[in-house]
Symmetry: D2
Subunit: 279 residues, 4 copies
C-alpha cells in the first residue's frame, strides 16, 4: 500500500518536534486531529484561538479554517489527522489559501472562545435561520479531561449499545448533529470481558486503541481476527460483519474511531444489518 | 383584561408554598419556567429528574414531559410559566394524562441527567437520523449560576446587537437551534447608559426585568414609554417599533424574554425591519 | 355554535353573484378554496394570474399572496374557504394590506403561469439553496379535470390505504411536501361497498363529500354515525376513532378533506394509532 | 487522459446496437442518461417500468434502482451516461447486485408509472414524514417533447440569468429540489447572438451541445476559447471564470449540463463569484 493509499484509508500521523512551527493556511477539506503523544505543549491555532493539545484531545478544523501549529514543549507531539479531501476531490471542490503574509496568524481569541460561543446559552445570531448554513462549524477542541468523565458516567448510567458497548459521538457544536457533514468521530468503551454482537454497515471505520487490549473479529465464517492494544490502529472495511471483544477481564478498553457515515447517511447510502442470532 | 387573556398574552405566575406539592401529569403543550423568587428548595421533577430551582434558573418541559413540583424550603417559590397551548388549541393537537397512580413520579435519574445526555460528546443513538424527530427535546434546567457568567463573558468579548445589546438565546440541547420548535427564550444585557436602535418584527415579545432599570419605547412618533425595574414584566406587541434604554449609567440591566419566533420563522412569517436612520 | 366558532372549525363558504367583484388584498394567513358550485366563470386573481374556477378545482393562496375575485358568469359561484388564521392569531403574526390603489390588481401573467414555473423542469433559481425559504409557495390551482384522472388511475393501479381507501394529497409545487406548512388538503376515493379500518390521530379533519354517499362512524363503542352525500360537510374531531363506509355498491365515493396535520407533524405532535383488530 | 480519468471527468457514452440487450443489475451509484442518437426504440427498464428513449430524453436511475436496457429498433442508440461512483468510492459506500436469475427484470408497470406517482396530486404515503428519506427518488424519464416546450415558454416569459441565459434544472420528482442529492442536470438556452457575463464557481460542469453553435471562454486574461456545435461535449473546470456566446444571430443555442453542485452545496462548499464589471 503506497503512502497516498494508506493516508486515504487510515489518515496520516503528524509529528511535531520541539520548537518546530508550521505557517498558517486553510483549505476546503475539513480536518480532524486526535492526539496520541506529547506533553501538552504542542498547539494548533485555529481562526485566532490557540488550542494546546494533550493526549486524548480531539480537534476539528472545518472547511476553510485558518490553522497553523507549533510545539513549545520538550517532547515531540504526535496526532492522527484525517481529512475529507478524498471525497471532495472528485467534485473538484477544493481550495487552498496561504496566510496573507506567509507567516503565522495572530492569537486574537482567548482559549475556549469558539466552543464557548456555542454553549447551551448562545448568541441569538448563531441560532436558527440567522445561521448562514448548517455547514458553518467553528474550530473546536474536545478535551480528554472533559470527555473521559462523560464516557465513564454514561457507562455508570447504563448507556449501552449491543454492537459497540458505550458508544459516544463528538457532537457538532452548532447543530448537535454529526461531528461534521462528511465525517464523524466516536469514542467507545468496552467493559471488562465484554463481547459485542456482530453487525455490518456501509462505509469503512478507522479505529485507534486509546486504552486496554482487545480483538475485533471480521466476518462470520473464515474469520479474521485483529488484535489491538494501546496506540494500535485498525480498519473495518465496508459491509463486513464485525464484533469487538475486550481481552481484559479487569480493565475497560477504549477505542476512538472515525468514518464517513454522516455523508453516507445524508445521501441515503448508510445501511446497517444485525447478524443473525447465533452467528 | 380577563385572567385567560392575560395568561395567553403574558403567561402566568405560579406560587408554591412551603410543603405544597402537586401531583404529576403531562400534556401536549410545552411549558417553560423562569424562577423569580425562592430559596432554592422548590423543585420540578421532570421525566424522573428532580431539578431544584434557584432565582434566575430557566426550565423547559417539552411536549408530553411528565412533571410535578414541590417546595422543601421555608419560603414561597415563584416562577413565571408560559405554555404554547394557545397555538396548539386551534389544531386540537392537545392531550393530557395524569400520572398512572394519581400521585408523584419517582426520582429515577441523578440531577443533571437530561442535560448531561446532550453534551458535546453524547450517545451516538441521540445523533442524526437515529433521532426520531427534531421535536424530541429532553426536559432541562439552565442554571442561573451557569448562565450569568456566559452573559458577562459575551459582553466582555464584544458580542453586541445594535437593537438588543448582548442578546443570548437558550439553545435547544438536542439541535442547537431555538429553545423549542414553538417558543424561544432569550436573555439580554444592556450596558450602563446603553440605548439601542429601534426595529420591529412580527410576533409579540414578553419581557421580565431580572436586574437594573430602564425604559422601552414603543413607536417612532406619539411614543409610549414602558419603564421597568426588577421583577417588572412588559410586552412589545407584534410589528411595533421599539427600542430599549438602560436608565442607569453605572449598572447593566438584564432582561429575560420569550416569544413564538421559532414557529413564525419556520412558517416563513417572521419578518424584521430596522427603523430608518435618525428615526 | 356561533359564526366565528363555526368558521374556525369548518371554514366558511363564499358565494359570489354574477357581476360581483371584490377588491384586491393580501394577508399573513394562507387560504385554500375548494369549488362546489358554479359555471366556471368565477375567478380568483392571485399575484397577477387570473384563475377561473370550475367545480372540483382546488386553489391555494399562500401567505401574503395578493388576491381578488369576481364572477363573469350567469350563475353564482360557491367555494369552501379555509384559512390558517386561527393558528397565526396567538403569535400575533398577522398582517393585512389593501391593494395600493384600493382596486383590482392587473392580470400580468398567462393562465397556468405559477404552476408552470414549478414543473419537473424548472428555473434553476427556484431550486435548492437559492430558494429563500421552504415557505415560499406560489399561488396555484389544481384543476379537477387533471385531478380526477389521477385519482382514478391510482385506484386502477391498486394504490390503497386500509384506513382511507385511495388517499391522495395536493402536493406543494415547490417542495413536493404537504400542501402548505400549516395545512394539507387531500382527496380520497372509497370503492363501491368499501369499508375502511378504524384509526385515530391528533388533529381534526374537515370533510366535503364530492361524489357518492357513505357513512363515517366515530368511536368504537357507543358509536356516532355521520351519513353524508354530495355537498355535505362533516368533521372528525382530534383523537377520535373513525372509519368510513361507501354506502353504494356500484359507485365510488369521493371525499375532499383538509387538516392542520403538517403543522402538528412538524412540531412532533402528530400521532396516529390503529384500532385493535376486531374493534 | 486514460479511459478511466476521461470517464470520471466527462462521463461515458454507451452505444446499444439493434437487438443488443443487457441483463439487469443495480448499484449504489446513481446514474443519469442523456440520449444523443437513436430512433426512439432503445429503452431502459427501471424498477419494472420500460422507458423508451428518444433524442433529448433525460433519464435518472437513483441509487439501487434495478435497470437493464435493450434496442428494439433498426439503428444504434447512443446516450451519455454519468455516475456518481467517483464520490461514493472514497466512502466505500458501494454495492452491486445482479438480477436474481441473471436475466432481465419483467415489465410490471405501465409507461409513466414512476413519474406519475409524484405529480402535483400524489399518494399521501409519499409526502412528509411518511417518506423514509429525502434520498428516496424514483427512476424517471424527462421527455424531450415535454422539456423543450418549457424551455421555449420560459424564454418567451423572460426567464433569464445573466450568466447562463434561460437556465432550467431537472427537478427531483420527490422533493422539487436538485435532480439528485449528489448531481444535478440542467438545460440552458442562449438567445441568438446572446453573450453572457462571466462568473466562476466551485465544482466542474460538463456540457453537451444539443442545438446551435457557440463558444465558451475560460479565464479573464490569456483566455481559452472552446467552440462547440451539435453533439460536442466540453468541460468547465472548478473555479475558472467562464462566459458563453451564441455564435448564431438567428438561431438559439441549447446546452445540456451536469455537475456535482448539489453535494457541494449541501456540504457548504459551493461558492460562486461574479466577474468584476468590465472584465
Amino acid at each position: 500500500m503506497g503512502e497516498d493509499a494508506f493516508r486515504r484509508a487510515f489518515g496520516g500521523y503528524q509529528i511535531v518536534m520541539p520548537e518546530e512551527r508550521a505557517v498558517a493556511h486553510r483549505h476546503a477539506a475539513s480536518a480532524v486531529r486526535f492526539v496520541v503523544m506529547g506533553d501538552g505543549r504542542g498547539y494548533t491555532t485555529s481562526n485566532g484561538e490557540q488550542m494546546f493539545m494533550e493526549v486524548g484531545d480531539f480537534l476539528v478544523q472545518p472547511s476553510m479554517t485558518w490553522h497553523d501549529h507549533g510545539n513549545l514543549g520538550q517532547e515531540p507531539v504526535v496526532w492522527m489527522d484525517f481529512l475529507d479531501g478524498a471525497v471532495l476531490g472528485p467534485m473538484e471542490a477544493t481550495a487552498r489559501d496561504e496566510w496573507p503574509d506567509g507567516d503565522f496568524q495572530p492569537v486574537t481569541h482567548p482559549e475556549g472562545y469558539w466552543a464557548g460561543l456555542y454553549g447551551n446559552v448562545r448568541p441569538a445570531r448563531l441560532i436558527g435561520a440567522k445561521l448562514a448554513s448548517i455547514a458553518d462549524s467553528p474550530p473546536v477542541r474536545y478535551k480528554w479531561e472533559d470527555t473521559l468523565p462523560v464516557l465513564e458516567r454514561m457507562a455508570a448510567e447504563g448507556e449501552h449499545d449491543p454492537h459497540d458497548g458505550v458508544l459516544l459521538e463528538y457532537a457538532n457544536p452548532v447543530t448537535g448533529g454529526h461531528t461534521l457533514p462528511t465525517m464523524n468521530a466516536s469514542l467507545q468503551l468496552l467493559a471488562p470481558g465484554e463481547e459485542t454482537l456482530a453487525h455490518r454497515h456501509t462505509g469503512f471505520v478507522r479505529y485507534d486503541c486509546v486504552r486496554g487490549k482487545g480483538v475485533t473479529t471480521l466476518d462470520l465464517e473464515d474469520t479474521t481476527e485483529l488484535e489491538w492494544g494501546p496506540r494500535d490502529i485498525f480498519r473495518v472495511p465496508s459491509w463486513r460483519w464485525h464484533r469487538h471483544k475486550n481481552l481484559s477481564t479487569t480493565e475497560p478498553a477504549i477505542l476512538f474511531s472515525i468514518s464517513y457515515m454522516p455523508l453516507a447517511e445524508s445521501l441515503g447510502l448508510y445501511r446497517v444489518e444485525d447478524a443473525p442470532a447465533g452467528a
